[in-house]
Amino acid sequence: MKKKVLSVLLACAMTISLAACGNSADTAAPAPADTASETKTEEAAPAEEAVEESGALAELVDGKFADTRHITVEIYDRNNDGGTDPTNNMYTDYIKKGMLDKYNVEVEYVAVPRWTEVEEINNLLAGGTAPDICVTYSYPTVLTYANMGGIVDLKDYAEEFKSVTPNLWDFIGEEGIYWDKDPKTGSLWAIEGRRVETQKSVTFVRQDWLDKLGLKAPTTTEEFHDMLVAFKDNASELLGADASKMVPFSISYDVGWRATNLIASFQDPKMTDKERYVNGFDDRYATQNGTKEAVQLLNKWYNEGLLWKDFPLYPSGDSTEDDMIKAGYVGCFEHNWDYVFRNGEDSINSNLRRNVGEDAKFVAIDPFEDKNGGHSKWMYSAFGTDRKIFFPSTNDEPLASFLYLDFISSPEVLKYLQAGDEGVTHEVLESGAIQLIAATGDPIQNSGKNIDYTLTCNGTWYGDEKTAALSLAYGYGDQDPELVDGASKAAQAEGMYPKNVNVGEISAEAEVGDTLTAKRDEMFDNAVVASEADFDSVWDSYMADYLSAGGQAIMDERAEKWAEYFGDSDMLP
């Protein structure tokens, strides 16, 4: 009897503690968020008054605050070998001095580990100690906290402070500032950073192999295929004793990314915006029309022995494929437009020079032609793919924060943050192009192009478009500027930009992102390695699984939302 009573009590205790534990994670976050929303409404009241009598702007005397304001800014800490302290170095000193002189605003940096940035931001927001200006790559995190009332709505501030933030509006522009604006409520939870280098992917081929076999660079998919066959057939001539290691075309488990230009060439260039949008949830175009045929072509090539046999076996981050490319066994592959130039001495081209020979190098080509004979390919959208800047509701200084964003978007500051001091970290060439010198010691940039500090800018800018375009080729250490320029142009040739379709949140997309990504990768991998006869059945069965796991729900909801906002029209207004 006693045992029975005790076991019932125990069961109750466990259920209660489970429920308590389950709730505490939610109540812990909204608790600070509740107080946060209270302070927000308190702030909103004076802010409304401020809008009426332009009080906030009136705080500025000659463009400066009368009394010193204090803001904290998030900075990524990458803990990279040989890096400097991200909260205290040459660049932070420059920004702090500039902000103090220009606006009488003291800036303090809060370091957040780059690899756990989402969890860390969650912790800081929950604990109420988040910095005034926060940054993240993950928009769903912003939305989650916005729904709890933990983020400042920027829609009024952006307009109100427009007159004192000319650089921000100039650089980001109306398109970027209102990119994430909710179409129904008009709320603006985050400002998008701008990606100035929108080149995406390009196909690289071994120029020395082409020369050895007397081939021209292919300009059609047929010629590309013939080139791969030529590499395979002449393996012993090209690689000598290592002929068995020949890989004509290398690809990774992420087939959609590593064959993106090929897939783009199978899409109808005249596809309607509506079709693009409804089928376009997946960033590797899994559910887009034309992708199946592209993957079928890859499957055919795989069965002819033209692709890397083991590509599905190596996960993300594994260096086997890179090592193979650096050792000289690979003839051709598709990747980021500057992939063979990255990392200076350890770059692919530098490694080839060392391991294979002086004239071994990868050059960019543009072979895949679409239905109309053109070479259209996707570019990165300037907005929506980079960081989102938001202010937690603990931010008491929205004007000072906006002035900070304006400061780091101004041309001189961007130029200094990216190029540093002349003679120390860069040289100015005759053409006006800026060439970077490898930095040591304090001027080291912890992140490429110092993007951790240039929150609103991702990519080579140096203050204006002209210098940026000229200097791009010189930003890669001792790489041949002509090759870099060629790759950049190849990636931009007939480039298409994705358009922003702003219909608010698609609820079907929440939470299924990771599952669908995994299923998509499985689908592509299995379809490519299947035998030619089995391709259709393999693809169809995996596609059915993908759709039932949430893909179909997303497409249906997207179609609904499209009809709601754009009616019967197929194109965006």
Binding site: A13, S24, N79, W115, N343, N351, G448, N458
Partner: protein
């Protein structure tokens, strides 16, 4: 004399050999990656790129180890982690003993209930954010104590020790009580000396756990002076491996060479490997401790 010549039937001999072969295969599967890592840390880059290094180093050189040992960051982290492990082990053993000892007395009021409560904490964890808020309220963030205090008592280990204490005959305790020994004196004079096997086992568990642990430092410690060794390695490996991040950001951080990576990992594993043989005999005994009931 006769007992030494037991009759082994063929069946049992085959069974024995089968078992031995299985154990050898498992042992080899565990050892091979270590040998490969050792070989990679001693090889030169060209062979590593061509993936030609298996069990023996090619292009033997000690550059990677020289770099690791010369870098003050690794050495400081090594000594800090060693110090931390020592302090944590001693503290944890003390706390575990003090927790296990009272729980063996039947006359402790509410003993059953306390046991159940303690066991519940073993199964349920509040999660990242509540833990973070707790550390914040306790002012333990960025404080070296956060690496020592929160994890100092493991309920699982405490249960092992409690089971061991159950195994010690009551008569020893009672005879000491009759002689007038106090509560703590009995613990110190009788139970602790008898518990050497379980102490060594738990010391090994705690030491390895602390040496390999990095998650709490990742979440709660921003000051680089106090990073455990494993967290350094975590950062190094992440800086090289994050392909998605590189695609997102449009650049990739130049990483360490493969041999340097391997050398760093060896650097953090070797100390524990060295301690293990000394505690091995206690370890085997300790794992089976809870299994035998009197």
């Amino acid at each position: 004399m006769e007992e030494n010549r037991m009759i082994h039937s063929t069946k049992s001999r085959i069974g024995d050999w089968g078992f031995v072969i299985l154990c050898v295969i498992v042992a080899i599967m565990c050892l091979l990656p270590m040998f490969n890592l050792l070989a990679r840390s001693l090889s030169s880059t060209e062979y590593l790129i061509k993936h030609e290094v298996y069990l023996l180093p090619k292009g033997l050189n000690f550059e990677a180890y020289k770099t690791v040992l010369k870098d003050p960051k690794y050495l400081r982290s090594f000594f800090w982690t060693a110090f931390l492990t020592g302090v944590c082990t001693i503290l944890s053993l003390t706390m575990t003993t003090l927790c296990a000892y009272p729980l063996i007395f039947e006359k402790l009021k509410g003993r059953h209930f306390i046991n159940i409560l303690i066991t519940i904490t073993m199964f349920f964890n509040a999660g990242t954010i509540p833990n973070y808020l707790l550390m914040q309220k306790l002012h333990l963030l960025d404080n070296p104590l956060v690496l020592i205090v929160p994890g100092c008592l493991s309920v699982y280990n405490m249960i092992i020790m409690r089971s061991f204490f159950y195994g010690i005959p009551d008569s020893l305790r009672e005879s000491a009580e009759i002689d007038g020994a106090s509560f703590f004196k009995i613990l110190w004079v009788i139970y602790v000396p008898l518990s050497k096997p379980v102490m060594a086992t738990l010391a090994l568990f705690y030491a390895v756990g602390r040496w390999n642990g990095y998650y709490d430092a990742l979440m709660y410690m921003k000051d680089k002076k106090y990073y455990p060794l494993q967290l350094l390695i975590y950062n190094i490996l992440n800086n090289i491996n994050s392909v998605e991040v590189a695609t997102q950001e449009g650049f990739s951080t130049p990483g360490l060479s493969d041999s340097l990576k391997a050398a760093t990992v060896m650097f953090s594993t070797i100390p524990i490997l060295c301690i293990y043989p000394f505690l091995q005999k206690y370890f085997i005994h300790g794992v089976t401790l809870g299994a035998v009931k009197e």
